[in-house]
């Protein structure tokens, strides 16, 4: 039986309460009759033999590219860059896709007699991965073969000697990327395409670039003109990355892009209820939900966070394609859409969403208030094609505890951004003009980014820019069940219950509003007609 596609439910009197994610917990909410709930499609069938599929892709590349084995020769300088900890979410059960692909690439390289191989985690301005995380992504065999010899590196966007400036695009954008990657005979990029935003030229042009380069597309103007950044053909972010990618290719960097897609089998079986529609919950699902919720109610938040952070997702590989970047990415997008696209008719006055504990930037960490905003208004809001799920001037209601809490190791500049910048203004344009440079060039943040496990000093700004399109589009943002002070600091309105939030929203959108709820994760893209 083929998996069922996504589904739009219209709430009626017999509809059971709807599950909302609420950080490290859940809420069951009764949506008003007539509200629409969008459910993700069921997971599509995985590839039967992933190893074979990977080998097949390496040997039968798409676009203008020779097979990998033909590109490699004895004496070749090979660099394998790979997506970092931000993908996939939650981290997947071993073996990780990256491990499978890289092992295959290394086999091919070994067969070709290549002995100059370096692995680079494509961090961009993200935090360094810990050894445990690297080991998880690459597998012990790869890790132990490379790490002890200094051949497993993490991209350092602040290492002047480790970067090379390849030129400027016709739009005047600097292209500066990792020197080792640029100077290799072959740069293999191993991607995991969890959402439509990932992959393509963005892999190298962002993942291996410096702040000087990234700032050309990670800014307010670009984000406000990306409608959405999940839709590559309508995304200014991607257009800029594509210009840069083409320049990189022209500069002679030979990229062999390997992209993979995963199905929506996001949560392990004990959390099966998260992937089912409430009215289809079996007795077992109900019991699982109620026990889970009862247990979480009695667990301190820090411990609940640890429990959730230990979740390993059963994500399975649905496609793998390799070769020339653009051709590969077109196939990838088709595969992502095959799994994730849900057709939705028209916009609503109010969009509601439950925000989970995790985002790309807090793996093994806490979802701080800035990341709460980014997850809701950056990611979930932008998971659309066509037009946003909510009309212009509409209201977005998000559910999350939003504690005033930060990880001091991962997010030091976030703390100062929250305490200093947002205390003064929440306007992305003003923030960008007034504060970005001092944070981006702050030597202490750079020191922590390079030597510890900190996101770059400028990173919280990007999170805020990610919200820029939504902030421009929406009439009001309400967070249900959040820390009031933290919510206010974000410039949003706090509400105790969803009912209160809906009442508040009516002040903005008028009586009897239309309501759409996105029932994710598992993640999906709404194709709004």
């Amino acid at each position: 039986m083929s998996p069922r596609p996504g589904f739009v439910l219209e709430v009626d009197r017999s509809t059971p309460p709807t599950l909302f994610w609420h950080g490290e917990g859940f809420r069951l909410e009764r949506l008003p009759v007539g509200s629409r709930v969008i459910y993700p499609p069921e997971p599509v069938a995985p590839l039967a033999d992933p190893e074979a599929a990977i080998r097949q892709a390496l040997e039968h590349p798409v676009g203008d590219s020779a097979p990998l084995s033909a590109l490699l020769h004895p004496g070749s300088k090979l660099t394998i860059a790979f997506d970092d900890i931000s993908l996939p979410l939650p981290p997947m059960r071993p073996p990780d896709v990256r491990q499978r692909v890289i092992e295959a690439v290394l086999d091919t390289a070994a067969a070709a007699g290549v002995d100059d191989v370096v692995l680079i985690a494509a961090l961009a301005l993200h935090r360094r991965m810990t050894d445990d995380e690297l080991r998880h992504a690459l597998g012990s065999r790869v890790f132990d073969a490379f790490a002890p010899h200094g051949l497993l590196l993490q991209h350092d966007a602040e290492d002047p000697s480790g970067l090379v400036h390849l030129g400027m695009t016709e739009q005047g954008e600097d292209v500066e990327i990792n020197r080792r990657a640029a100077e290799s005979d072959v740069l293999v990029y191993v991607n995991i395409n969890l959402v439509a935003m990932d992959g393509g030229h963005k892999s190298v042009a962002t993942g291996l670039a410096s702040y000087k380069s990234i700032r050309h597309h990670h800014n307010v103007r670009t984000m406000q003109h990306s409608r959405s950044f999940m839709d590559r053909h309508n995304s200014e972010l991607h257009t800029s990355n594509w210009r840069m990618g083409q320049l990189i290719a022209k500069a002679g960097v030979k990229i062999f892009q390997i992209e993979t897609t995963l199905n929506l089998d996001t949560f392990p079986s004990q959390f099966g209820f998260l992937q089912k529609r409430e009215w289809e919950w079996s007795l077992k699902d109900r019991a699982a939900f109620h026990t889970t919720r009862a247990a979480l109610d009695r667990t301190p938040p820090a411990m609940a966070r640890q429990i959730f952070q230990s979740i390993r997702s059963p994500h399975a590989l649905t496609s793998v394609q390799a070769g020339e970047v653009e051709a590969v990415h077109d196939l990838t997008l088709a595969n992502v859409h095959r799994q994730q696209l849900v057709e939705v008719q028209g916009q609503a006055d109010i969009l509601t969403m439950g925000l989970p504990y995790i985002s790309p930037y807090n793996v093994n960490s806490i979802l701080n208030p800035i990341l709460v905003a980014c997850l809701g208004l950056g990611y979930f809001f932008n998971l659309y094609r066509g037009k946003p799920l909510v009309r212009e001037g509409g209201v977005c209601i998000m559910s999350h505890p939003t504690p005033w809490a930060f990880n001091p190791v991962h997010h030091p500049s976030y703390i100062d951004f929250f305490e200093q910048v947002l205390a003064e203004t929440t306007d992305p344009i003003e923030i960008e003009a007034k504060f970005e440079e001092s944070f981006a060039t702050d030597p202490w943040y750079i020191h922590l980014y390079r030597t510890s496990y900190a996101y770059h000093g400028v990173h919280p700004f990007y999170m805020w820019y990610w919200c820029a399109h939504a902030l421009q589009h929406l009439g009001q943002v309400i967070i249900v069940g959040g820390d009031r002070a933290a919510v206010r600091r974000l410039g949003f309105k706090p509400a105790s219950t969803l009912a209160d939030a809906l009442e508040m929203a009516e002040d903005v959108v008028g009586r009897d509003p239309t309501i759409t709820h996105v029932h994710n994760p598992p993640l999906f893209i709404s194709d709004v007609r």
Binding site: T130, F143, P148, G150, L151, L153, W444
Partner: protein
Amino acid sequence: MSVEALVPGAGTMIADSLAGKRIAITGATGFLGTALVERLLRTVPGCELVLLVRPGRRLSATERTAREIIRNDCFDRLRSELGDAFPEQIASRVATIAGDVGSDGLGLDAEGRARLATCDIVVHSAATVSFDAPLDGAVEVNLLGPSRVAQTLLDVARELRPSDAPLPHLVGVSTAYVNSGHHGDAAEELVTESRYLALPDWKGEVAAARRARSDADAESRAPSRLAELRKAARHELGAAGTALLAERTEKLREEWVDDTLVELGRSRAQALGWPDAYAYTKSLGEMALAETRGALPVSIVRPSIVESALAEPRPGWIRGFRMAEPVIISYARGLLKQFPGVPEGVVDVIPVDLVCAAIIAVCAHGPEGAEPTIYQIASGVRNPLRYGTLVDLCEQWFTERPLYDAKGQPIVVPTWSFPGRGKVQGELRRAAKGLRAAERIVSMLPVRGELAEKVSALEEKRVLAERALGYVELYGAYSETEARFRIDRTLELYESLDELDQKAFCFDPAIVDWERYVTEVHLPSVVDHARVRTSPGKRVSASREERARKAILSSEPRCAVFDLEQTLINSNVVESYAWLATRHLSPIRRAQLALELAAEGPRLLAVDRRDRSDFLRSFYRRYEGAPVERIRSDAWELFSDLILTRSFPDGLQRVREHRALGHKTLLITGALDFVVAPLEPLFDEIVCARLGEKDGKFTGEMVATPPTGEARAILMEQWAASFGLGRDSTVAYADSTSDLPMLEAAGYPVAVNPESKLAAVARKRGWLVEQWAQASGGPRRRLAVSTRTVGPRTTLSASAIAPSGASRVTSARRGEA
């Protein structure tokens, strides 16, 4: 416009008779003295004044006159009336001579004596008015003062005045309470004439008081007493270092001697039937004056309890926090739940302007006969204010206009039920004792941060309870006095004045409307002076903190010195060691070692408290044989896994703010160089411990001992001096009294998450206190052990950890520490 129209006293008989006279005044910096000087200058335009002022520690007598008398708001009215002519008037009519009534000959120089010799009238109002002054001090000023003045006047008259010139008229200011130890009428007569006073030989009392000072001093130096005082100092300051403890011990010793003399004074006074040492010494002072005055004409003015002005220079004018004011404010703040007294009894209050007018009238009237003439100026007989009425008026007034507590909540005033003095004292004593005990117990708890601040607030409560007890013990007698001070002679003098004089120099207590005086004049003035909160809302202290932060983070050059443990991070050398030592162990061995260290904790803590250097020296031996390269590399993981996780983001931010302002930053810590190396970008210099190395292994011996105690203060000063900056420009951040020498030496001391002892010190000194917490979203773990698997640190590029060259990690050599 004529001068008469401008000046209220001008043209009166009194003004006329004092015109051209030169009047000397002692005690002009006091409440009554200031009012008298102003009144004379304003209403007796023809007189000149000579003020005998004691030179202060920093200010000369002339400067004190300018700052403490003329600049007082008492002169606002005169200043505005005279306009530009004010300075010239003051300069031409007021002269200052340096002197001290506490020493023989008044400590006058030749010029002072010459000036005094020209005076026609001398008003002696200098006194130690505090009711709880040490006995010997009160004896020198109150008892011997008047006769010293008389003696000096006789001396200078003999030497410097023409023999036919009349002797000056000495007007002594005393107190009605010299004669209060009995029920019923207290007449305007010399104490020696009173039938109800047991008067001792005043010379014997002087000798005894002077001996008591030396006896108490000797006793304070006894070994057992010194041991006790040292213990008290240590209890208060903790391990603050020898110098500070010695200083504090000496201060406590001096306080002990003073306290002993205060107690002696009070018990001696009460044994002889006076309410306190003030009335007792004043009594004997009158006696001594009567005995030694020779041919000098003497008048004595005895006011009762002098309070704020009824009308002159303006209603409510008051100087200093006097007798009734602290009691009233304590009551309004809800601290005095009870106060002894008899509701139908009389509180004998007299506004200061009435007293001034009486003194001026006595001056103008001149001496009467050969015997000293006594004028009492009191309200009790002519226009009594009942104690019950006063309390009712206060209760009503503060109910309508409550004071507010620190949280902005209105304070409800208690209703007094007028119990006996003994009962109130008993209750307060028990409360103070209980609080003392509680304070002693909790101060031993190892608390810091906001909890420690609460503990130190206990101390404040105890101080308040003791103060309340003090008020009751001191002033209780005044609300229970049953003597009736007759003012017949004073009234006679008043009646002898013509209408104009009576108007300009009114001192008939009958004119006081007590209800109006209490509610419209006195209470508003008292509340105004007390600087208490009279409006609801947020804490006022927040703005004080803000100001302090602003001063610290100014664009002026500064040298900011930071301690590490508990100031910037919530961790210590033991944890760093545990983390590094367990990194390469199996999980089971990790837990074992961590538990072993935890078990050793109390012992280690005790050694650390006794002597920091000894502790570090012995603890760091554990690093003996550890591989240098591996430890240095692991220390970078330690930085992320322990140091940053346990850091106080506000603290790191503060360091960065200093640097952004161009300030110099220095870290002084007992931690090892490799532990603090990742913090280099924050500091211009790091002074830390360093271990010896041999064959790639640590020897376990410190080759550089970090400075502790006073050495830190010295280092801070030297370091600031190397940038050409003085102590005023230094900022010190520390968390415990072991850094007290450095905090004391700093221009801007900041107590960070202070433990209770430091919290108490900081509160007393008004130091900025910062409560810096760990970020709430970081990983929490109980044991400081490495939880990550061990991997080669190949993922960190060499250039990332290379010293930037911007900072130096240095350490004091053994010899310097």
